[in-house]
């Protein structure tokens, strides 16, 4: 007999230690009580955290069935579809923040998506894997083959990551699109959060000058240039 509710997680509250590093950094950028759209919200962990801990009003967009079920189990409002659809539904400045976490590199039209995010959101937060990281540069130099990392584990022929860029590339794009960079936070590590508060802090204090070489991932807080 299928007991559908047996495999549904009991209600629990998320705390910061459940988040990935970049998710924690993103959460720290979101003001209390904000209205948030999370594009590619996955299992809804970040969104749930923002709702529970930052009094956010959130809405997620997710393409995978697995992610959908996880979000529904968390009681989150979530839209099953691709990012374009998830954006076109909303009027201008509906959200205080629109979040695109680790998804930019997989969208077909990054400029369009960023423009749409800036339309429906007052501020946008983008995190992406940095293709300028030394590990990637060394791999390509020494092996002569497409680099792979724990964050980018795919083969060249089956990777969903079709729009890789470095931190410098992204800065160029912001300049070209006349987008204000409010904050940029290169992270010195990737993955689950280190439990120790010191390490958690250290991850975030990478000097700007070396970030394109040393940060595997970066978080940008952006807004439309005014006037």
């Amino acid at each position: 007999m299928t007991q559908y509710h047996d495999d549904i997680a009991p209600i629990q509250t998320t705390d910061a230690s459940d988040l990935r590093i970049d998710q924690e950094v993103i959460a720290s950028l979101v003001a209390d009580g904000a209205r948030v759209l999370d594009l590619g919200c996955g299992d809804g962990l970040l969104l749930e955290y923002l709702i529970n801990n930052k009094n956010a009003r959130g809405f997620g967009v997710e393409i995978s069935t697995q992610g959908m079920h996880a979000c529904i189990a968390r009681g989150l409002p979530v839209y099953h579809g691709d990012i374009d659809q998830g954006l076109s539904d909303h009027t201008d400045d509906t959200f205080d923040y629109v979040i695109l976490s680790q998804t930019l590199q997989a969208v077909r039209r990054p400029r369009f998506v960023i423009r749409e995010m800036l339309r429906v959101g007052k501020k946008i937060i983008v995190s992406f894997p940095n293709f300028g990281h030394w590990n990637i540069r060394v791999q390509l130099l020494l092996s002569g083959r497409m680099p792979k990392t724990p964050m980018l584990p795919y083969e060249w022929f089956n990777t969903p990551n079709i729009r890789m860029c470095s931190i410098l590339d992204f800065q160029d794009l912001c300049r070209q699109m006349e987008i204000n960079i409010i904050e940029q936070i290169p992270l010195a590590a990737w993955g689950g959060l280190p439990r120790s508060p010191l390490k958690r802090h250290l991850v975030r204090i990478l000097p700007r000058t070396v970030s394109n070489l040393l940060a595997p991932v970066a978080v940008f807080l952006l807004e439309k240039r005014k006037g």
Binding site: Y4, R35, R57, M68, I72, G75, P77, G81, H90, T94
Partner: protein, 401 residues
Amino acid sequence: MDHTSSHRPDSGQSAQSIGLVTTQTVTLFEQGDPLKLDSGATLQPITVAYETYGTPNDTLSNVILICHALSGNAHAAGRHHPDETKTGWWDGYIGPGKPFDTNRFFVLCSNNLGGCDGTSGPSSIDPKTNKPYALNFPLITIGDIARLQKALLDHLGIKKVLAVAGGSMGGMIALQWALDYPECVGGALIIASTPRLSAQNIAFNAVARQAITQDPDFNNGDYYHGSKPERGLSVARMMAHITYLSEKGLHEKFGRRLQNREQFSFALETDFAVESYLKYQGSTFGKKFDANTYLYITKSMDYFDPFPDPETTAQRLQKVHARLFVMSFDTDWRFDSSRSKELVRILNLHQKNVSYQEFHSPHGHDSFLLPDLEYSRSIATFINRLYDEELRRRHHKDRPA
């Protein structure tokens, strides 16, 4: 395990079935005010047929209201007799361990107003004339159908439903509930449905109604003592049935296969298997369903338009608190996914708590009735989350400060 249903003398049936059920009836609006309809007409008295599955909890906070579609009835799950082969219309989804889990929830389904399966409709006796209402029955709306369900729940002492759920026209009724009784609805599941019929949808209904009213036996709706317009109703059903299936699904099932013959008849006979199938579907339906109900209910769908303009929309949605879950199927062309997305868009513009999911299925509009694991899981996950939150609220309330 504490399965109320497994103790019933229905042991020969599947372990997951709710088992034997009976349809109950109650007469409402006998005395006092009649039911006021959207048309301005009134109706009194009104009989309602309904079935319940599972057990209500002590605070009646586990009630799920199921709304049936055009040709459905109150018999949503289980069997009326042990030797019955057919189960209720949503038996795959209502029962112990199923998405609408009767071990957890008290599930209720009533025959819609205007119906022909126990609830007052054109075939019921008009107390003023002691004859069937026929076309003297007032025109009804989806709002009237929800209003009568509300009266039934009031009669049963149920103030709030954990969720209201329905597919197709049932989804319209579920949406109507969320709009008209915002304080009474925890969540609404609006499946394979639409916020309004398109011109094409109305056109299909119009042709169906023409088929019925052009039947020589129609007799202006007053056919209850003679032959019924079964042929017209059967043609209406045949056409509608095509719209419930996907082209691919229908072709995969029948292809160009011939029916009981090796070669074309070269006569106007039933050559193809799909013809024979449709004829059977039509004639079965023509015998059991009331043609006038078909006219009235399709009209109520045509009229449904809760968001006709921005002002009305804003006003209607202002008080809506229910968590809404809109679902569609990718091969449905009766109410395709874009119709569900249209609804989600409206709800999003007004910042309502809405989720949307599209499922892959080869079965077209009928998908919402058929077994599907992902769809089942989504329903179950949504309902159980609502109930878990309800239990948690109660737990916090009960705990001494």
